[in-house]
């Protein structure tokens, strides 16, 4: 019986091989296949903050004026060669000469103006403008072909950092709807988009910079982590930027990397019993974060503030809370003795799949909190519903809640975190503390040491004194990479996959 089966198997696979139907692992070609978690909704340059758009677009098809060095966090030239501040609200950028868009149009000051205009269009809401530029209006003034001046509606000391997210696109692109065929200055051009199936790009010959090794790429998408992992394992794909920790079981192909995300549960610090600091501290002390790491990967770091070490304003001196359930019990008992309603139910507002094992993590924490006598209940939402609880005005302002949250600050400055998340006026903030507000107000217009110090103080205050969050982790992500590629993920892999950083290993 068993023998028969083996013959059958051999027969079938032989037949298939003869028919040439089995998809072979790539022969020695120079194209790569990348499998993403979802299809990009469009490839609109002003939507490049959308991770599935950015992973195809950024650095491959389009490029910005400036880039952030992932190692140092410094702003470096890309399509601009240098820049200067001419007034608190005005900047002058000098452009790289001899750069052409893939449609032949020259990259000059007029093209920059057109790209900024694209960003500020009114027929659709551009995520880049809203999210990164904080809704600030920019006026462009063409000085000459290669010099352009920007005037912002309010002073922005880190304007060159902000320009890292603005993708430059050809002035010939039309302004109707979201583009599915963007034209940029990057080393690759889009060759086809079969809706629902794949996107292919090809290397162009007249790129201004160094010619990349990879000659072309095909992007496909699968929502299941196991499938993405399987595709790389079988050679159907070469690289997937994200798989779950459970699927990362092959040390040869699976790489873990800090992905710039920091997780927390936001505490509604103004609603009893969470308005009592002892209860907030007890919540933190009761969870065994070292044990819980199994859900996210051993590379995850206990967090003590909402930004990672790459961000200007990160405070290296804050010590993460240690696991101490006895102390937590004691704190709850003390609070109870003082009349704090610690028996009141606390709602945990979770979001399905906000990160890998999001639901399991909440279940585990709920069990640990019930150990110290706190009564919590989980409500899981889809993204749309969860977001209602993220923003002010909160739908149920009197509900004591812990809001599951994940934050990434890829621009490398704490200003993109502190105001919205912790200022009394911040739209996601559940904290109201005069000292924090003052520190943020002091930091924002400042530069250099003053700016850094003020942000660091604010983070220390939030962690040690206020206990504003249930602090979780600086997260790690897992990628699976075909061994024929020589490529390592970086902090930016969450939002971009630079094809020109990929090399091939010498085949044996």
């Amino acid at each position: 019986m068993k023998k028969g089966k083996t013959y059958l198997a051999a027969g079938i696979s032989g037949l298939l091989a003869v028919a040439g139907l089995v998809p072979h692992a790539h022969a020695a070609n120079e194209t790569v296949t990348v499998v993403l978690p979802e299809e990009p909704p469009s490839l609109e340059p002003c939507e490049s903050k959308h991770s599935s758009v950015g992973r195809v677009l950024i650095q491959n098809i389009t490029e910005p004026l400036t880039v952030i060095d992932p190692q140092t966090g410094e702003v470096k030239p890309e399509l601009a060669t240098r820049w200067e501040q001419t007034a608190p609200d005005a900047w002058r950028f000098y452009l790289r000469e001899g750069v052409k868009f893939s449609d032949g149009a020259p990259f000059d000051a007029k093209a920059v103006a057109a790209s900024i205009e694209r960003l500020q269009r009114t027929d659709m809401t551009c995520n880049t403008k809203q999210q990164t530029l904080g809704g600030v209006d920019i006026k462009t003034n063409v000085v000459n072909d290669y010099v352009v001046e920007f005037k912002t509606s309010k002073p922005i000391p880190i304007f060159p950092t902000m320009m890292t997210v603005v993708q430059m696109s050809s002035p010939n692109m039309t302004l109707s709807g979201a583009s599915r065929n963007p034209i940029g200055t990057g080393p690759y051009v889009i060759t086809a988009w079969n809706a629902g199936t794949d996107i292919t790009v090809e290397r162009r010959d007249d790129y201004w910079g160094e010619k990349p090794v990879v000659s072309g790429a095909r992007y496909v998408w699968r929502s299941e982590s196991a499938l993405r992992a399987a595709m790389v394992a079988t050679g159907e794909a070469d690289l997937t930027p994200i798989i779950s920790v459970a699927d990362a079981d092959n040390p040869e192909t699976d790489l873990s990397y800090p992905n710039g995300e920091t997780t927390r549960l936001r505490i509604s610090t103004m609603v009893p019993p969470l308005d009592d600091k002892r209860v907030r501290l007890a919540l933190n002390l009761a969870i065994d974060r070292e044990g819980l790491k199994v859900l996210f990967g051993e590379g995850a770091q206990l967090s003590e503030q909402l930004v990672g070490p790459n961000v200007n304003g990160f405070n290296p001196d804050i010590k993460p809370f240690a696991y101490d359930p006895e102390k937590a019990k004691q704190l709850v008992a003390e609070a109870k003795a003082d009349g704090v309603p610690v028996d009141k139910a606390i709602t945990i507002i979770g979001r399905n799949e906000i990160y890998v094992n999001a639901g399991e993590a909440l279940e585990a924490m709920q069990a640990m909190w019930s150990e110290i006598g706190l009564n919590t209940q989980i409500r899981m939402f889809d993204t749309g519903n969860w977001l209602r609880y993220q923003n002010k005005p909160f739908p149920e302002p009197d509900m004591a809640n812990l809001h599951q949250d994940q934050h990434d600050n890829l621009l490398g400055d704490a200003t993109f975190t502190t105001f919205n998340k912790y200022d009394t006026e911040g739209v996601n903030s559940a904290v109201s503390d005069k000292r924090v507000d003052d520190l943020i107000a002091k930091a924002e217009p400042a530069t250099g040491e003053t700016r850094t110090k003020a942000f660091q103080e604010a983070f220390a205050l939030l962690h040690d004194d206020i206990v504003a969050d249930v602090y979780m982790y600086h997260m790690v992500g897992y990628t699976r990479v075909n061994p024929r590629l020589d490529w390592r993920p970086t902090l930016a892999t969450n939002s971009e996959i630079d094809l020109s950083s990929i090399r091939f290993r010498a085949s044996e």
């Binding site: 196991a226 699927d247 279940e363 585990a364 989980i378 899981m380």
Partner: protein, 308 residues
């Protein structure tokens, strides 16, 4: 056919016994059905007393026992292994049985009752009433169940009872259409037309003559549907719309376990096996029931004459 005569023989040989005794001896005659019945009885007992006995083991987190493989060394509770938070899988299957059964039974029962009633009315009355009911059914059928799920869960909040509503709504059309089709067929049979002609009341015609014809088909579908409901629920969990933690069912256990299929198959295998065994038992028992109630069918066949 041999089976049929065998069971009728058993029945005839024990005319004096109570109905219960008859049922038992009929069950004894079919070993598959007997095992199925035993399994379901065991399941019912588990649902009732299981959570009281080992409810705590189903919620105790234990990182050391995370994804522990099935083994006899770690004590009775870990025979089937541990789940992704180190909880005993055996305990979770036992405790999960209650919610699973509650969801599936309520959803199937609700959709059978509503569907069959509307189907009876549509098939029996015909005309405008039938048209209206059928077109409303068309609407429900063309309505994606996921949208129903999202609307209900958004408006009413995510809970077990709302999940039952979603599942029931989406299953109504199949019972409705089946019932209507069978009723229309039954209505045209001679003995039914005769009964109507002799002035029998509508209720009498429906419950005495038509329902017995329709019921076996409905039962067959319901038995299979039972599994379908559990799996749909599991699918909703897979898409993030199903039962919400800390509640759990066998379906949601399979959905969670799928993340570990390659590294820890037991997480999704055992609850999946529980679903399959339950569904199988129900189906075997349903088909036994059809045959055990056959005399009625025979009467019907003798009463009417039916040409191709």
């Amino acid at each position: 056919m041999t089976y049929l005569t065998e069971s009728t023989k058993v029945m005839k040989s024990a005319p004096q016994r109570s109905r219960f005794g008859t049922a038992l001896s009929l069950l004894w005659a079919d070993k598959f059905a007997m095992f199925a019945a035993l399994f379901l009885i065991l399941l019912a007992i588990t649902c009732m007393v299981g959570p009281l006995l080992i409810g705590k083991a189903a919620s105790g987190i234990n990182f050391a026992g995370r994804n522990a493989p099935p083994s006899f060394d770690k004590g009775f509770l870990y025979i089937l292994g541990g789940d992704n938070l180190g909880r005993s899988l055996l305990a979770r299957i036992i405790v999960g049985a209650q919610t699973t059964m509650a969801v599936a039974i309520t959803a199937v029962a609700a959709s059978v009752i509503v569907g069959a009633l509307l189907g009876l009315v549509a098939g029996y009355r015909g005309g405008l009433v039938s048209d209206v009911i059928m077109r409303v059914t068309d609407m429900i059928m063309s309505f994606p169940s996921m949208l129903t799920a999202l609307v209900v869960l958004y408006v009413l909040g995510p809970s077990v009872s709302n999940l039952v509503i979603v599942l029931a709504i989406t299953r109504i059309p199949v019972y409705l259409r089946t019932t209507r089709a069978e009723v229309m067929e039954a209505r045209s049979r001679v003995f039914v037309t005769a009964a109507i002609a002799m002035g029998a009341s509508h209720a009498r015609v429906i419950f005495k003559h038509i329902l017995p014809i329709v019921l076996p088909t409905l039962l067959t579908i319901a038995a299979v549907d039972f599994a379908a409901v559990i799996i749909t629920e599991s699918g909703l969990s897979f898409l993030g719309l199903g039962i919400q933690a800390p509640d759990f069912t066998w379906g949601s256990m399979v959905a969670t376990g799928r993340n570990y299929i390659a590294s820890a198959w037991w997480l999704s295998f055992w609850p999946g096996l529980a679903i399959t065994l339950t569904a199988l038992s129900l189906n075997i028992l349903a088909s036994w029931l059809r045959i055990a109630t056959d005399p009625q069918q025979r009467w019907r066949l003798e009463g009417g004459h039916n040409h191709d």
